[in-house]
Symmetry: C2
Subunit: 272 residues, 2 copies
Amino acid sequence: MKSKEKLMRKFDEGKHICVGLDTDVNKIPPHLKDRDDALLEFNRIVIENTIDGAAAYKLNLAFYEQYGLEGLELMKKTLALIPDDILTIGDAKRGDIGNTSSMYAKAIFDELNFDAITLHPYMGFDSVEPFLEYQDKLHFVLALTSNKSAADFEKLKLESGKYLYQQVIEKVNDWNSKGNCGIVFGATQLEELKNNIESFGDLVVLLPGIGAQGGSLEDVVTAFSDKNNLNYLINVSRGIIYCDMTLNFGDKVKSVLENYNTIINKLISTNS
Amino acid sequence: MKSKEKLMRKFDEGKHICVGLDTDVNKIPPHLKDRDDALLEFNRIVIENTIDGAAAYKLNLAFYEQYGLEGLELMKKTLALIPDDILTIGDAKRGDIGNTSSMYAKAIFDELNFDAITLHPYMGFDSVEPFLEYQDKLHFVLALTSNKSAADFEKLKLESGKYLYQQVIEKVNDWNSKGNCGIVFGATQLEELKNNIESFGDLVVLLPGIGAQGGSLEDVVTAFSDKNNLNYLINVSRGIIYCDMTLNFGDKVKSVLENYNTIINKLISTNS
């Protein structure tokens, strides 16, 4: 199944949460820490309890790369635990000259077998094109990110009157001829989100920044509902996977995700 | 020794070439291909023959990541072959929100033990800061890249009248309070290079794009010499490592690098 199709089916089921597997040995429940396979077991329990409610999973590659070879093994074993009908995003934020981007695409899509990736736009089209050639995959290009320093460059005003991130969104729309593009837009950037939703066109929007980073789930869902757009994926990492430190954290993880889904669907039906 | 110091000593010796170990199984000499350790043996021969002439080595992470676990092993074993007094650059082009950038920094500097890294500026200061906290390492931020699509965003004109890449250079100068920053500037962008050298300040400049990508060694060296700036590192990958396909390719690699160094030093002394 095409990556975008996987996601659309979840959207049709009213699922919009992407579970961020930002797995960190310093943050997992203490009772798991002494196990040899502590991180894999943690991921296994999180996945088992979120399969029914998640629209997608996002693995932040940095969290795995910090452990070297073991981290790469962990990432592969984690991906093997995720059912084939749920989208997996390699949050890799790659982007390089053409022949190098081809190698990164090979690493993420052929070697690790992710369904989707996140990309830096800075170097322009030819740095993104080798990824887009993987037509059945989904490619989320950074537009406006959730961090404070997004103001340094992304929010610079261009001579044309547009902001840099708006120019990126316009270009990604141009690059979307195969329907396999998306953008990353920070859930913390509410005013900008409201003012730009209509420029997103058919692009799938991945929104990080809910919870620990300060973005509001309700505000984001309402902003999209107001424009009759259901094409969005809200990432939650710490707010779900580290919600509880007890022996039964799996149950808590499950109910936290269910609660997010209930809130989202109530808001969607109120606004429709 | 601090990374910058390693490099400065090489500059003092008149060495400005960074050997790019973009090792690709499809491009190495045929006689090596059947060996189990073909890529490591290829890197070993290249390193052995360039130790005397190289100012630095750059490993493009994509070329290694495409081979998964084996690629990571290869990268570690390759780094172990490089003498400690020569700078090693992890050409990783990373950049993410703060806590994620910290993990990438850990992966590149603690796990792999590179001396330097390349970074995407798009997300701004807080995406770069966790790297800069590794004070003894060197951090090359992308300014103007060598690829054609650099025009898509990097060369956009801002409301202020500056181009985006110029704003990046200005910011990186601000971020350089610990003297551990550099920039990446494409050797193919000659006019922009000539017009901006004076804005580089104390930043070390890494220049890819010589050879296969069309940049001219002579033009780049002359541009820097004209401004009495010796703070630059010219990357050559394909032009050195794939210069010969015979059993004696190591000798050829050595002489090609020596030839580059001769040209550079002739140009520097002519212009000084």
